[in-house]
Amino acid sequence: MGGGSQGRFVKRTTPLWLLLPVFGLFIWLVLYPHLFVLGDSLWIGERLSLDGYRTFFTSRSELEALWGSLWISGASVLLSAMVGIPLAFFFTRYDFPGRSLLAALAAVPVLLPPLVGVIAFLFLYGESGIVTRSVQAALGLERAPWRMVGGWAILLVHTYSMYVYFYLFTAAGLARLDPSAMEAAESLGAGRTRTLLRVTLPMLAPSLVAASLLVFMTSMASFSAPYIFGGGFRVLTTQIFQSKVSGEVTMAMVQTVVLASASLLFLWGLRRFDRGREFAAVGKGVGAVRKPVRSPWARTLVPTVAVAGVFVLLLPHLTLLLVSFVPQGTWTMEVLPSRYSLENYRALLERPQLWTPVANSLQMATLATAGNLVFCFVVAYLLVRGRFRGKGTMGFLTMLPWALPGTVIAVALATTFSVNQPWFGRFILVGSFWILPLAYFLRNIPLVAQATIASFRQYDPSLEEAAYSLGAGWPTTMRRIAAPLVLPGLAAGGLLAWVTALGEFVSSILLYTYRSRPISIEILSQLRAFDFGAAAALGVVLACLMTAAFALGGRFVQGGLTGPRG
């Protein structure tokens, strides 16, 4: 990237008309509400006090929870990377029959909404689950061979549901890599391992850092898995919930602030590491070339291994499907249910009010994602290409929603927007339709922004400079140069955001109203109503919607996971 040739286009500072609205939105919707949370953790009775924090840091069980959250999140990053990165390499590098279908299926864990996924794991690997009972029967054991409890159970669920971030981000990164860099390294005599370590992985670094961040933050905020499988295992999210349930508002707020601070520290550390690692590949429009699998034994082995692996990944979905056909209250001691019927699906059709949540979720997720795409494109552009003071602050604000668990965002929104004070930027949104799309939008800003930022970093800014120097204005350059080039990242991020919003549970449960109740809430009510079958049937409907989205959206990630070859 030529040293002395920066023209007037690059040097000029980013215009205020672009900066002000972005900063304004961030401050009003992201920063402002959370100041109320911080305030509530310090405001005890009628005065400011640090008593809440003193109690926290002298209590054995609270410190246990902090440590639990930290190591579970760290281990989740490692394990997810160990599964996701090799998978992405495998599917991007090798070609064999059925590859593109299997590559798409490898992303299926993302199609299980959090709550439903955890319940499926319970039916599968829980103490009286299908796999557990099968192993027990096969080995002739008197008791269940394992119990789905504690740290490792949480880690299993986390790895299963979060390696997808590494998988998708690595695949998107590989899709944008110029193979000529690798070819150059190899022609200069570097071996495969050396090329991987010195060329490929460093070029993938932005994608990997983004995935690590997402996994760490998601683990820190994860609630369903520790709640259901934790047993006596304490993490901060469950402690917050317990405090809230016991009516200890101050303690809940203190725990929330500690949780957010821990996540923010990680974010800060990783950004420091990531700084100065910007590099760019001069893309020549050549996608990655996949190697066909040639040797005869490998031609059978590779697809077999891929099919077997994908089958294991699909087991929870199959379990969900199975349970959706089991009539209520008939499955007790058997390994597999003994009776099947269409009763649950008939019930879904006969209760038209069950379809309203489906329509609600579709609409709210689409609204939120549309907002995300526009907003995050601008934010990512500003963060990567912009020249203005306060860039670090904007980067911080972009990641802030991820550092704050969904519960916190929901509580903060509910507190801030429960009063009508237009001069203070406060309006009554509680109890209205708009608060849920707003919450989804806020929660998904980091997801879409990170994916888009990674794409922006991977192409050479000289392409934009060329457009400017040929007389194109900013809008044209964005539309004709930047948007098409970041489309893989933007589409991957947007897709994940839409799917996340469709099954969102954690903030929905605090903010929904009768009229805007989403699918996850309806599933929860069915679970409460002791109707596992109906809940599973609704879960299947949700998973099908998500699958349809991926099938449709996968076409956008051109040359990536499912696109045409070469």
Partner: protein, 349 residues
């Protein structure tokens, strides 16, 4: 490709109407933990009596209802709160979340089954019981009283619903602590009892549904729960689950109803409260959903047989309401910090 996506997106946004904008007719919104079957029954009953009215209900835990009412204070969405132990109604009333409305049937309630300022009223009385897997445990060997659950035979066989979130479990734990203190107000003996229970406990289970599943699948054999829910299970599923009413006395939870302060449809809300406390509705609740009416004036002949048979066996545990109201949060906090999962480590066998 981009065009197709844009068109699709626009179509999706335009086709789906924003909920809450269209004309809606008369709607009554009920927040309740009572479950779909019961709610559908009384929702339809109310709609039949008030043509043109739609009853919508949201099914959630009673603690969640309380939190929701708090967060919606500025823009209330609910008309009626039906179902929660009385201490939650007392807290909500103190917070100014409930409206004052005396239904005509209030005069038939015992004095402590309603709010002196008419902000909530009892509908049902819910006794707690000991439930067990009847396929693995014959009736003659099932625990007959609370202390029997501490028997070595049930070591690692007891399942407990996550107590902090559950009105039922809070009521049981508080009553036992109160009983063990023998009126001294010192909870130490009660804590000791709960430590021994913790040592017996195999797992704290997330919600009632999972609890039933685990009990039916013999992941544990014994649990503590409430009578109407277990009776309903027996009536509606094949699960091998039965229960005993503790011989020495059991806590009886007072389950209430209230009109929400600032309810969007206050007249409908009052009519609904009037309706579910009527003699006819209470008899239906007893017959189909195993609920014991709180009203004292009902003709025993109109009540179902199971109830007439069960009533004499229920010995309400004597508790002092004010103490429980004040101390339960303290006791539960202590339980969570010092008793949960510590029983076995402290050598209780």
């Amino acid at each position: 490709m981009k065009k197709a996506a844009t068109t699709l997106l626009a179509a999706a946004l335009l086709l789906a109407p924003v909920p809450g904008c269209g004309p809606d007719g008369d709607v009554l919104v009920v927040y309740t933990p009572h479950g779909r079957d019961l709610l559908e029954h009384f929702g339809e009953g109310f709609e039949a009596r008030h043509p043109g009215v739609q009853v919508h209900w949201l099914d959630m835990g009673s603690q969640e209802v309380l939190e929701r009412l708090r967060s919606e204070r500025a823009n209330p969405q609910a008309d009626v709160w039906w179902g929660a132990p009385d201490d939650m109604f007392i807290r909500a009333a103190e917070d100014g979340l409930l409206a004052s409305f005396p239904p005509s049937w209030a005069e038939h309630l015992a004095e402590d089954h309603m709010d002196p300022e008419s902000r909530w009223f009892a509908t049902f009385l819910t006794p707690e019981v000991i439930a067990y897997n009847s396929a693995a445990v014959p009736r003659s060997e099932a625990p007959r009283d609370w202390n029997d659950v501490l028997d070595p035979r049930w070591r690692d066989q007891v399942l407990i619903r996550e107590p902090l979130a559950s009105g039922t479990m809070r009521a049981i734990f508080a009553a036992i602590i109160y009983r063990e203190s023998e009126g001294t107000g010192d909870p130490t003996a009660g804590y000791d009892w709960l430590l021994r229970l913790d040592a017996q406990t195999k797992e704290y289970v997330l919600n009632p549904t999972l609890l039933y599943q685990k009990l039916a699948r013999q992941e544990g054999l014994v649990t503590l729960w409430n009578m109407p829910d277990i009776e309903t299970l027996k009536a509606t599923t094949d699960f091998p689950i039965d229960y005993t009413i503790p011989e020495g006395g059991t806590p009886v939870v007072v389950d209430g109803i209230a009109v929400v302060h600032g309810a969007p449809s206050p007249e409908l809300a009052q009519a609904f409260v009037e309706y579910v406390g009527s003699e006819e509705a209470l008899q239906e609740a007893a017959e189909h959903f195993f609920r014991i009416p709180a009203r004292t004036d009902l003709d025993p002949a109109g009540l179902p047989e199971w109830l007439r048979e069960a009533l004499p066996r229920i010995r309400p545990m004597e508790v002092e309401r004010a103490t429980l109201l004040e101390q339960t949060p303290v006791w539960m906090r202590h339980w969570d910090a010092n008793i949960r999962r510590r029983g076995q480590a402290q050598g209780y066998e």
